[in-house]
């Protein structure tokens, strides 16, 4: 569980990036944090594993205040994937990158081998096992960063923009993986601008603006309320946009899924024919 109380954060340069954020993320929740550029999303989630410490207010992870423990202890439970993979990758090969944390956390050889293979397959990286992460494409580098964290199966996952550079198939695999994490009772927090990905996952959505949280609710509800989205510089998912324009036909407005959309259109046309 992550408890944030009246969190303020100022960068050394003087920028006040968080201006009194309070929220609770329960164990097992799947939360997407969205909002305009510079709203403070990355700054906020960096507090969840102690990378940043509050200038004011408190952040508690599983009951322990982040100022009263070490980043090392916090990161054992909370895996963090950076927005820009280049801030994270440092090893000479993809394999070493993935095994680094596993070794650090004292897993035995056999488990390490199993986990590496599993992560490489999940993220379609098997052919790059011995390649340097710096010689990979942008999307591939992001997947190496994801693999190195998913491999040690942390209790909480914090993913800053996990879908950047990913094609549709990779995103779908990531979505299925997150669903699986949830069935295991794990907590997943993503920061994302990818409205369509959020529409497909339908998590709890936290909207941020100017260093504060301005809305908090179910994905479907928030993503289909244009007034709420606009203040955080977010546009509706495309299916919701279509249905918003069809309001006069008496169709529902809160539709975000293509297949649901299909059913609704067909059912309503059928009704009209009768």
């Amino acid at each position: 569980m992550i408890e944030v109380e009246n969190l303020h954060f100022r960068y050394p340069s003087g920028v006040e990036a968080l201006k009194g954020v309070s929220l609770i993320i329960k164990k097992g929740e799947f939360v997407a944090i969205m909002g305009q550029n510079g709203a403070g999303k990355t700054t906020l989630v960096k507090h969840f594993n102690g990378l940043l410490k509050p200038s004011e207010g408190t952040v508690r992870v599983d009951g322990v205040e982040t100022t009263k423990t070490s980043v090392a202890a916090l990161s054992r439970n909370a895996g963090f994937v950076f927005q820009n993979p280049d801030h994270q990758l440092f090893s000479e090969t993809v394999e070493e990158e993935i095994s680094f944390a596993l070794k650090n956390f004292g897993f035995d050889e056999e488990t390490i081998e199993k986990r590496i293979t599993w992560a490489l397959n999940l993220l379609a990286l098997a052919q790059y096992r011995k390649t340097s992460p710096f010689l990979l494409s942008g999307g591939e580098r992001k997947r190496v960063a994801l693999a190195s964290v998913l491999a040690w199966n942390p209790e909480t996952l914090i993913l800053d923009e996990p879908t950047i550079g990913q094609d549709y198939q990779q995103k779908e695999k990531l979505r299925q993986f997150i669903v699986q994490m949830q069935t295991q009772g794990k907590t997943v927090v993503i920061v994302t601008h990818d409205v369509e990905f959020v529409a497909e996952c339908n998590p709890r959505v936290l909207l941020m603006k100017d260093g504060g949280v301005v809305a908090d609710g179910e994905g479907r509800e928030i993503l289909t309320t244009p007034e709420v989205l606009a203040q955080s510089s977010i546009v509706l998912p495309q299916i919701a946009q279509v249905f918003l324009k069809l309001e006069s036909l008496g169709l529902p407005k809160d539709v975000i899924d293509v297949y649901e959309a299909k059913e609704i259109v067909l059912k309503n046309l059928e009704k009209r024919r009768k």
């Binding site: 550029n37 324009k245 024919r273």
Partner: protein
């Protein structure tokens, strides 16, 4: 008039075991808005690097085949000569930023061109405003958020007003409304000023509607090349992992169910909503 042409272009990075682009033959007309997409790792960035000569000048390796860009051969022209005609926005904005302030980063290319001070100041102002980073101009580009960095990278290229703008996933860090605004700006430059735009993107929901021409790559090869409305309405594009716009997908699915919806594949929510309104009127 053709402004970019490649014939059988094949390139292998140094030490690479297989070509990252393989037998690519494409033609881009002057003034076109071209969208390049395809699965992660298929060679999109590598192809972009050929357009301004980074491949092979910077990356070395082995380049075969022919390439002409704005009447020049990037393999023999020096990269700074190409830079006047071709502006490339990098996939990772951080690799493009190095100056001490946002403003200096945006001005850097213009200084290299030897542009008069007054004109330069105007261009920089214009680019900072278009990308909405005027307030950040004195900040260090390394002390701003991810999306703010990406705007700096875009502003730096727009400021140059090159004949061809190549954008490699230019909005992956931008919030959706800002991404939309930037695409509107780029679309306007394309339509009003005839600037040729080559855009690499996975998020077709935001971009398909602007494209005159789409190129889909897979494993280093071009597998579709033509009209976006025709190409995005095929089953094959979906199977290789292209994120078809949801409006287009809905059209495709409803047609398969036997619904009559007109023959022009929609690429945006506006177009799809119109088709549905028609369908509801008839019944």
């Amino acid at each position: 008039m053709t402004i970019i042409e490649t014939k059988n272009l094949t390139y292998t990075y140094p030490g690479g075991t297989k070509p990252s682009i393989n037998g690519v033959s494409i033609k881009v007309k002057k003034g076109e808005f071209v969208l390049i997409t395809g699965p992660s790792g298929c060679g999109k960035t590598t192809l972009c690097r050929c357009f301004n000569g980074l491949v092979p000048h910077f990356y070395q390796g082995e380049l075969k085949g022919e390439i002409t860009v704005a009447g020049m051969d990037p393999t023999t022209h020096e990269t700074h000569a190409m830079a006047k005609s071709v502006g490339l926005v990098f996939q990772n904005p951080e690799n493009q930023l190095f100056a001490l302030s946002v403003e200096k980063d945006v001005a850097f290319g213009l200084e290299n061109l030897g542009m008069p001070r007054e004109e330069m100041r105007e261009r920089v102002e214009w680019a900072l405003k278009l990308t909405d980073i005027h307030d950040l101009r004195e900040r260090s580009p390394h002390e701003v958020s991810g999306g703010q960095q990406q705007r700096v990278a875009i502003a730096a290229v727009l400021a140059m007003q090159p004949e061809i703008i190549v954008l490699d996933e230019p909005t992956s860090f931008l919030d959706p409304l800002s991404a939309e605004k930037i695409f509107e700006v780029i679309h306007e430059l394309n339509k009003e000023h005839g600037i040729t735009v080559v855009l690499v993107e996975h998020r077709l929901d935001l971009t398909a509607k602007y494209a005159d021409h789409i190129i889909i790559m897979d494993e280093g090869k071009v597998c579709f090349d033509g009209n976006p409305r025709e190409i995005l309405n095929t089953e094959e594009t979906r199977l290789i992992g292209v994120g078809i716009p949801k409006a287009t997908l809905l059209y495709h699915i409803l047609k398969k169910e036997g619904l009559k919806l007109g023959d022009v594949t929609p690429l945006s929510s506006e177009e799809m909503a119109k088709l549905l309104q028609e369908a509801f009127k008839i019944k």
